[in-house]
Amino acid sequence: MEILVCVKQVPDDSVEVHLTAEGKPDLANITPVVNAFDTYALEMAARLKEAGEGEITVLCIGGEEARNSLKNCLAVGADHAYLVRDDRFDGSDSRGISHILMCAAKKIEEDTGKKFDLIFCGKEATDAALGQVGAELSELLGTGVITNVIGVEFEEGQVCAKQETEEGYRLIETASPCVLTVTKPDYDPRYPTIKNKMAARKKPIGTIKAEDLSMLELEKTGEDGAFVKTLKLYEPPKKEAGIKIQEETAQDSAFKAVAMMADAKVF
């Protein structure tokens, strides 16, 4: 079983992002991390691998600084890592990203002579939260996609995944290869052991450039290739704060609040 996990590096989502005076996201003091949903995907892949056999490859499109994130992935279950790195890819939208991922996946398959059975993505990234890449990638690869996965089984070319839905779950089957987008399962990503962490330090990270991708249509990528174009970024206007009640006792505060709510006829 060969598994590909696509990961994105994003700013630590526990820190609020604001704009600089120039109107750009101020990310200077925010640690870049692997998108949380991608870490769930990698953990799910690692558990699947441990239950069976095979290898996990992680693939990331990003700048040089994303290598550290890939190293972290190598310490928690990934066997191989590739960084797709080309300035011309900056500003790609979902379809551009999906296209590059598709080309890179094909290239890795060609180079290694292996075929990916499962392609994992996080259900969305915590920065833009679009949730498009998994679905688009599957369409480009001509495979099925199961989204919001919280559990998966794999047997001889057949995948069965548990999809979380709003009121429960669906069990969905499809033939491999297929794309799975992962949401938070009922477990957390593992901590790397020191041994794995140190081993990961020494593992190579492959670099893939635009020229390396035989199927690439460069015009679909980068800012120029994007269908979706950003006009401007801004911060939402602050809603005007209402009345603050702070009486001496909780009881008095509650009385006052209920009286005001009654006046406003909200119940």
């Binding site: 939260a129 498009q132 009121e167």
Partner: protein
Amino acid sequence: MRKYSKEEFAMNMTEYKDIVVYIETADKSPVKVGLEMLSPARKIAENTGGKVRAVLIGDGIRTAAQKAAESGADEVILIEDPQYESFHLDYFTNVMESVIKEEKPVAVLVGGTQDGKDLAPRLAARLKTGCVSDVMDLRTEDGKIVYTCPLYGGTVLQDVVMETSVPQIAVLRSGAFKKTEEAQKGTITEKKVPVTDEKVRLNIKDAVKEISEAVNLEEAEVIVSGGRGMGSKDNFALVKELADLLGGVVGATRPAIEDGWISRVHQVGQSGKIVAPKLYIACGISGATQHVSGIMNSDYIVAINKDEDAPIFEVANIGIVGNAVNVLPVMIEEIRKKKEAE
């Protein structure tokens, strides 16, 4: 479809001017966001001079189609087949692909439900066109449709356009748009889209409703939510008590859910449900952007938090500084009295 230059696209706006709105159904009724989308669709149509066409796919959903026709669609395209009784990503993508190729809309609006969020990008890739997600607002400007979407959990907003591809596909956030109040009655056109197994790769073996309670946060008029400030699962019961008293629905923040106080269907916020009730009561919720951005469209917000500097107070109509665990029992008692007096 192919990519156009800006000039070509501008020209094409005359060719492509209708708006297709995919209205999802749940239990044979249109979902709330489905009907909400008809008002922004109408706004675009006024600008392009086109028609608003709602598409409903399912089985036994004529009443739902009727409802859509009365809610602002010029035409409802009703596609019924037993095979389409419940959502199936592959079949529904095929159906929408076929409808869009025939109708040639300038924009396709899809509601931001879980299934809608899957359908839109799948369709966009199939049609080789652009797609935006989680649209909170939209407007037309110089003949362009400008969409407002959140970034970084909503601390930053971005205005985006899709000028170089048709149709533009947009996933609209539930609760972000108000339903049209007075709408002209539209027509219903039944349409057969034959079931094809082409590109159908998924087999849905089972769909299980695990959560027996009906939690409809999106349509609730009153929501009482609890956060980590409730302190414990026992205390969280106060939130439910107040919600029951007000005939409302219980909401919760991600930490409260992760602590196992209540099931995840109750989650309100960016990664849960975006809500727009008439009354929202936030108990022991500090007001992380994640959460606040999901409640901003509420008409009236009451917040109870012991930290007087909690950001939740910046959006609340009434902010009570105090421990929710102490404040809630008194509020419950007071509201009960007032209700009984009525």
